[in-house]
Each structure stands twice: as C-alpha cells, then as structure tokens.
Amino acid sequence: MANNRGYKRSWKNYLLDPSYQLRFTLTILAVAAGLMAPLGRWVSQKATTATEVALNQIDEIRCPDVLSAVAQGAQAPDVDSDGEDVVDLLDEQAPAEEGNEAPGNEAAETESGGDSDPITAQEPIEGEPPPLADEEDREGSERRERPAMKADLDDSEMSIVDTEVVVVGEIQERPATSEEILASKTARKVCLADVVARKESVEGRNSLITIVMLISGVVLLLGLAVYGIRTTHRVSGPLFKVGLYLKKLENNTYDTVYNLRKGDQLVEFYDHFKDAHAGVTTMQEQDRDRLKDAIKLAKDAGLADSSDEMAESIKELERLLKEKEESIVQKEA
C-alpha cells in the first residue's frame, strides 16, 4: 500500500489550493510591506540627513591658496597725503620695467607665471628701527647698492632741502619661488580633487543606500511571495493528494494510498492519514465479513421464508455486501 508513484512538480500546478495559498502569502506580503514601508522611509530620512551633514562638512573644507609671488607680509606703501615723497627702498628697476603699475597688479602678473621678482615696501613695524636702504635682504636677496642720486638744481625754482629718507616698510618674507608656486598649485588641485571625490563618495553612498533599500524591498517581497507559494504548495501538495483519497472514500472507493513526493511537508500528517485510511478500510472489511456472515446465517437457518421483512432485510444485506465488495475490490486488484 505504501508504493511511491513519481509525480513531478510543475509550475502550473503550484497553486493547488489558491484560496489558502494566496490568502496566506498575500497576508504575509501585505504585513511585510506595511512594516518595510515606514522602516524604508526612516532609513531614507536617516541616510539623507547623514548625507547632508557630510556634504555640508565637506563644503567647509578650505583648500590651501596658491602661493603668491608677492610676500604675504608685504603691503603697498601709503602715499603721504601732504605729497611727501615715498621712497622705494629696494627696487628701483621695477618701476622702470613695469611703468607705474601698482604692486598688486605685479602680483597678479606673477601669479600668472611671470618670472619677475617685485618687492613691495611695507610700513615699518612699530617699535622697530627702520631698515637701512642698503640693508641686505633677509633671505638670500642679492645685495644691490642704491645708485647715488644726482640732480642739477641750478635753474630750478625748487628750494633744495635735504631729503630725508622715509621708511615705509620692510620685507618680512621672501616671495615664493616658481617651484613653490607650482607645488602649491598642485596641492590645491589635489585638495580640490579630494573634496570632489569625497562629495561623490558620499552622494554615491546615498544613492547606494536608496538602491539597496529598493532592491531589499523587492527581494524581501519577492522572496516572501516565492517562498510563501512554495511552502504552501508543499503543504497543499500532500493535502491535495489526501483530498483525492478523501473524495474516493466519500464515493465509497477504498483505493491504494501511495507515498508522498520527496520534499513534501506534512509527512507525519500523511502517515496519520494512511493509518486512518487503513482503519476505515478495516472497518469496511469487517462490515463486509459481518454482512457475509449474516447472509450465510440467513441461508443456513432458512430465514428468507420466515417473513417478508426478513426477505427484505436479506436483500438489503446483499446489496450492502455488493457495495462493500466493490469498494474494496479496487484495493485488492
């Protein structure tokens, strides 16, 4: 009775009990979606907040400026409001080469790659003695003698006054060399590239979170749906099989019960069903045997002629016996 007939699973047969399988699976899906949606929203909010904070912080990063050819501490000399002469202490060649351009313009030109080496006068620092005109530059500047100024004033209406040298500034740092400017440019480029890379990384992570979240949601729902249908099928499969035997029993057919397919669930339940099937088959066989006994007794005792009621009863016994035998015959065949 426990033979195994090899029925293979087929996708089209996966919904054996649609009402149970769909009800079960859709309920799980609805609840999972209901729980995942607010969680996803929260995740998205947290990710957006973290991303915004990170981006704001990246925006705060200040990359080092490109070094200027003009010394940082240097400033343009003030021109006395009374028209006092301002004496350029150091570079008398610069005005000759560049005309009367402001030092700032020179700096701009230098930044764009010029090789000139302008030096701008600076106001003296309070409390410090003014530097001498022929004082050696602090760091490696070439010492240059100031040419003696000679003027013929015979025809001039200008009164000759001993011009006092006014110190308007001093050089605190030497200007950056072209190599240093190049290095600072490279450093700035690297810094800016790093900022862009960081931004892209943070934004990329945010996009990744969104994509992973969407994929996770789809995977969870699909996983639940597929696994739900598959699991309920593994329950419905044996129940479908049991249902066929139940229908046969209902129609008074005591058929051979075959084993379940490999991988089916409810193996224990199926064993219970097989035992029950065997139990009712035994009951049927007992009834059949008792009916035979009764008919045999009626014949042996000659009861058929005793009364019409007895005759009817024997006929009924014979009808029932025939039914019972027909119902069990298939099992024995």
């Binding site: 979170i209 696994y227 209902e250 339940f269």
Partner: protein, 197 residues
C-alpha cells in the same frame, strides 16, 4: 453539526513546530540580512559625516572633545534605534508567521485527531473549524468524507441490527452454532454503535 468552541491559547500556538518554525526561520533570516545590510549602510554614511567633522575639528582641540562625544552618542543612538527597529520588524514578522502558520497547523492538528480515531475504528462527530482558520476547503472535503463513511457504516449497522432482531424474532436457537453466530453479529453491532456514536 453544532459548533464546539475552542479558544486559542498562546501556549498552543506552536502546534507543528517543524512546519511553523521552518517558514518563520526563513523569513527571520531574510529580514535580518536585509535589515543588517541597510543598517550597516546607514551607519557607514553617518560615520563618514562624523569623521569629516572630526577632521575639521582637529584645529580646535578644546571644542573637539565635546563635539566628538556628542557625535559618538548620536551614532550610538542611531545604532540602537536601527537594531531596535530591525529586531522589532523581525519579532513582528515572526509573531505574525507563527499566528498564520498556527491557522494552518490548527486545522491539521484537528484533522489528525479525527484520523487517529478513524485508525482505531471510531467515527464520531466532526466539528467545524474555528473562525479565521485556514484550509477550510480541505476541511470541508474531510468532513464530507467522514460524514459519508459514517453514514454508510450507520446504514450497514442499522441493517445488521434489524436482521439480528428479525432473526431473534424468527426463533433461532441461541445455544447452538447459529445462536453463537447471531450473538457475534449482535456484539459487532453493539461495538459499531459505540464507534459511531
């Protein structure tokens, strides 16, 4: 077929542990993996923001300690919230699955008890399922089979009892072989009546 009322009990929710826990474990593992992955990504994003702030605070060490402590605390809170949310989601899903699978395992358990009675040759009354139980179609099939089989045995038993009564009325000798066979039939009918009660 009147209805016997059985209330659900929490202790009885895991009727078929193998059937129920198999599905619960699958869903729990899947949810845990997804929650863990999402949580890790959010934590990573928050950690990036924290690290950038920390880098920028390197120039202000007096402020840095307090701010970093605050950021760490926020990050920990985020982790706790994420873990709590993930665990909450998994627990809720697991509970739901236990309830859902219980609605499958419940009817199966009930049918199993009837099947055990049938194995022992007893066909007593089949009561309907509880409201909300699944496998209603299957249970209806089982119930129809049970009713049909029982009806046939009842009919056979009634016919046999009628025959025994008629045979006794016909005056069969109770002490002889025929009387013994009639007695066997009577005993069978009594046993069957008991089994079909």
């Amino acid at each position: 077929m009147s209805k016997k009322k059985h209330n659900r009990k929490i202790s009885n929710y895991l009727i078929d542990k193998k059937l129920q826990l198999r599905y619960v474990i699958f869903v729990t593992t899947l949810s845990a993996l997804i929650c863990g992955m999402l949580g890790f990504l959010i934590w990573q994003q928050a950690d990036v923001a924290t690290n950038i702030i920390r880098e920028q605070l390197a120039d202000a060490p007096d402020m840095a300690d307090e701010v970093i402590r605050s950021l760490k605390s926020e990050d920990q809170n985020l982790i706790f919230t994420m873990v709590a949310s993930g665990v909450g989601l998994i627990v809720l899903l697991s509970l739901l699955l236990v309830v859902m699978t219980h609605k499958v395992a419940g009817p199966l358990f009930k049918v199993t008890r009837y099947l055990d009675k049938m194995r022992d040759g007893r066909l007593d009354t089949v009561w309907p399922l509880r409201k909300g139980d699944m496998l209603q179609n299957f249970y209806l099939k089982f119930s129809a089979m049970h009713t049909s089989v029982k009806a046939r045995h009842v009919e056979t038993n009634e016919t046999l009892k009628n025959f025994v009564a008629l045979a006794e009325a016909a005056g069969i000798d109770a002490s002889g072989d025929q009387g013994h066979r009639l007695d066997e039939l009577r005993k069978h009918c009594e046993q069957r009546s008991e089994a079909l009660a």
